[in-house]
Amino acid sequence: MAFDAEKEISKLWRNLHIAQGEIGRTWFRWREAALDIAGPDANPLEISLKAAEVTGREIGKALLPRLNWLKGEEAWLMNLANNLANQWINHGAIVKVEKMGNPFEVFIKWERCPWPTFAKEYGVKMQEDLLGCDRILQSILSDVNIFFNVNYKIETLKAIPRGEGMCLRRLYKV
């Protein structure tokens, strides 16, 4: 039975990258459409952050059935952090989740992210890209916090859009 694994994997890999590219461009195509309809007086940042909020809320809702408290809060937190990281990994980012000493604190590190590149391609300011990611993450946490009756926050310590080489965010219990 003839089978060329390299050929099949390379085809699959190529198509995955094409799909990731389409995800990024679709976001900015919709942004352009929204700005056109909103008119010249609209604030692009405001529109973009609203879209980020809607996106984050939707992702947060989708996370509710996947998160489980049965293995305790530490395991729950790692599960949450990994789910957040996976959102970006699926788009082509390299993201790692690391724990330090505090059991209720994790660090999420974006070593590479395709979103600033997409933003540049469409002439979008880096500040909008950074604040958009922040808003998505905060909006995800909003429903998750209420649902599990906890209070977790996420803060940005370093950011690729600011030229700091990586995005580093701290997810912690307040």
Partner: protein
């Protein structure tokens, strides 16, 4: 002085001797119930969308009232608010205005006409409500885990007081309509359960906090409704003995027992013991949960309260509740789905006709339909929700007696044979195997409760025998046989033919049929690929995975279990994962080789999977004898999987529909 509304004497019935604890009276409050049987409140979506009772709803409930032989028959829960936030089902009955009293009276009268006791349930659906409005209500605005439900609005204190007033007003209307018993629903995610659970109640006022605070709404509700019920009308409540919400920090089991004690202190006359929420990740009532699994909760409840208790939840056969009542763990046998499948079930138990019971297969299709705004349907009972149509529910005798040949003694053929013979036809069933049951013989070998599927065949066999169907077992219906017999009509119920893999190697010896595997006629190796990702494929995959084989399912549907209703499908997905079964959806087998198969995805990727055997579960319609029969000019019907491969339910419903019109 205790009151007995209807006299019943069960002493001469065989069921009363066999199950003595089920057919002895019990006093609830000041009311004597002649037996220990209760039809549990069940939504059926048969009422008008603005909450008025319909003929279909009345006929549905009257059949169940007949079935409880003097016991309690509870109507579906009514919603009580004009703005419809408490309404959880499109066809749910309403009681928010006096204009609904005549409809409610029709239900109470229908129950009384069968000399049963009429129960009315008050059901504000809380966070699973608001079927037709934008927001539902709850103690706190906790987001929904299941997207099917509406966003929650936190109730103000005035909302809470208003809600209690609405319960009281609805009680007055139910009493004016003639109901004998009132029941408050506090289960599965409805409003009262939302107040009780810390998962959904985050309030910091007097309606939140510890279990007594969270139960305060319940206490005020009970006290207000009890005022109207007085001493003569028993007031019951359905409460969770375990919420099964540990993963989202719901109430602890010991807290649930405190709610039972608080309800008793507040004036409740009986408690229906329940388990789980719609949002629980633990299976509670599906076929994979063995019968009687929840009786320990009934026992626990009896240890905490003095008022009578009832329980439904997988008590599908009378010996279980009879034993539990005898041992003092339970007082009343409650039923919902068993009496959807067979409204006369307890009556048949009493009359010693257990072979005539059409047993529920715990598939939850009835519930799945309700959540999709459709009228109730039963997987196994074609008459369900058609009780008001006499031509369908009790078809008249055939105008012209025919000689009917039915080919195949599976569920479709048997159902058709029974109905046709009952209507006066002469019916002959030809089956090439030496036993009846068709592919259900093999399907019932699959794990997680599928042996219960064969109860359908046992029922159909008994009915066929009673109406004089002639069986020709071990005799294959051929063109020649049909020509010789020349029946007036032929019904092809042969079951499906199994598909051939449209690739190289489909005729290799290691490609075997699922029926041969499930009947142990074909031995398979340690690594198998199952071709087909619908229920037959999932069933055989789990059967083999339980034997520790490495199983891979390959199927063309985008997701596995396309033919399983959503209320059960999620269980199968978990079982596949737990048993290490790999599933490749959106895929087909391109080639069967020696020790491996080549899989091709819908978009053209290829990859090999090692396997010793390929098991075929993909099916196609079977029209083998169709042309020959039509050539002879004989009336022809094709039913069940022979027409379109589907499931047991479609087979039974097809058989019934042709059986009543042939």
């Amino acid at each position: 002085m205790a009151k007995l509304l209807f006299e019943w004497d069960y002493s001469s019935y065989p069921g009363a001797k066999k199950y003595p604890h089920l057919f002895k009276p019990i006093q609830i409050g000041n009311l004597i119930i002649p037996n220990r049987i209760k039809y549990a409140a069940t939504e059926e979506n048969l009422n008008s969308h603005d909450g008025f009772i319909t003929d279909a709803g009345v006929a549905y409930l009257r059949e169940r009232a007949k079935g409880v032989v003097g016991g309690i028959c509870t109507m579906q829960g009514v919603y009580m608010d004009k703005n419809r936030q408490g309404q959880g089902y499109v066809g749910q009955a309403a009681a928010w205005d006096d204009k609904f009293i005549p409809g409610l009276k029709r239900l109470a009268d229908a129950i009384h006409a069968e000399r049963a006791l009429a129960g009315c349930q008050l059901m504000h659906c809380g966070r699973v409500g608001a079927v037709d409005v934008q927001y539902c209500q709850g103690p706190s605005a906790v987001p929904q885990r299941l997207r099917i439900f509406r966003p929650v609005q936190e109730m103000t204190k005035e909302d809470i007081k208003q809600c209690i007033r609405e319960h009281a007003e609805a009680t007055r209307r139910a009493l004016e309509a003639g109901f004998d018993i009132i029941e408050i629903s506090g289960i599965v995610g409805y409003l009262l359960s939302n107040f009780i659970s810390p998962y959904t109640n985050r309030r910091t006022d007097e309606y939140g906090g510890d279990i007594r605070g969270r139960m305060r709404f319940g206490v005020e509700l009970i006290q207000e409704v009890k005022k109207l019920c007085g001493k003569d009308v028993p007031l019951g409540i359905r409460l969770c003995a375990e919420e099964l919400l540990e993963d989202v920090r719901g109430s602890k089991p010991e807290e649930s027992m405190i709610t039972y004690q608080i309800a008793e202190e507040a004036g409740i006359d009986f408690i229906s013991v329940t388990a789980g929420w719609q949002e629980s990740i633990v299976p509670v009532i599906s076929r994979d949960v063995p019968m009687g699994s929840w009786l320990h909760l009934a026992k626990r409840a009896k240890e905490h309260v003095k008022v009578p208790t009832s329980m439904a939840y997988r008590l599908f056969k009378p010996d279980l509740p009879n034993k539990a009542i005898g041992e003092g763990h339970l007082d009343i046998w409650e039923m919902c789905r068993p009496m959807i499948a067979d409204p006369q079930m307890p009556k048949k138990v009493l009359e010693g006709r257990e072979e005539d019971i059409r047993h529920c297969v715990a598939c939850n299709l009835c519930l799945a339909r309700l959540f999709r705004d459709a009228p109730m349907t039963c997987y196994i009972n074609p008459i369900c929700a058609h009780e008001s149509d006499p031509k369908y529910a009790s078809p008249p005798p055939a105008e012209e007696k025919k000689n009917i040949m039915i080919v195949g003694a599976g569920p479709a053929g048997l159902e058709c044979a029974y109905m046709a013979a009952r209507r006066g036809h002469e019916v002959h069933v030809y089956e090439k195997r030496k036993e009846i049951g068709g592919t259900i013989i093999e399907a019932s070998k699959a794990p997680y409760g599928d042996e219960e599927l064969f109860n359908c065949i046992n029922y159909q066999k008994a009915q066929c025998e009673k109406v004089g169907v002639t069986f020709h077992l071990g005799k294959e219906a051929t063109e020649e046989l049909i020509k010789n017999e020349m029946p007036d009509s032929v019904v092809l119920a042969t079951g499906p033919v199994y598909s051939k893999i449209r690739g190289k190697g489909f005729d290799r010896e290691n490609v075997v049929n699922t029926l041969d595997v499930l009947s142990d006629k074909a031995k398979v190796g340690e690594r198998v690929v199952v071709w087909g990702n619908r229920k037959p494929g999932i069933g055989v995959a789990l059967y083999l995975a339980k034997q520790k084989k490495k199983v891979t399912i390959v199927g063309k549907d985008k997701s596995a279990g396309f033919d399983i209703n959503p209320s059960f499908k999620w269980r199968y997905m978990i079982y596949l994962a737990q048993n290490g079964v790999t599933v490749y959806n959106d895929c087909d087998i391109e080639e069967v080789g020696d020790g491996e198969v080549m899989i091709k995805t819908y978009d053209g990727y290829r990859f090999p999977v090692k396997c010793d055997n390929v098991i075929v579960t993909e099916r196609e319609a079977n029209d083998t004898l169709k042309n020959a029969i039509q050539k002879e000019g004989i009336e022809l019907f094709i039913i069940g999987d022979a027409l379109v491969p589907r499931n047991l339910s479609s087979a039974v419903h097809d058989g019934y529909r042709i059986g009543i019109r042939i």
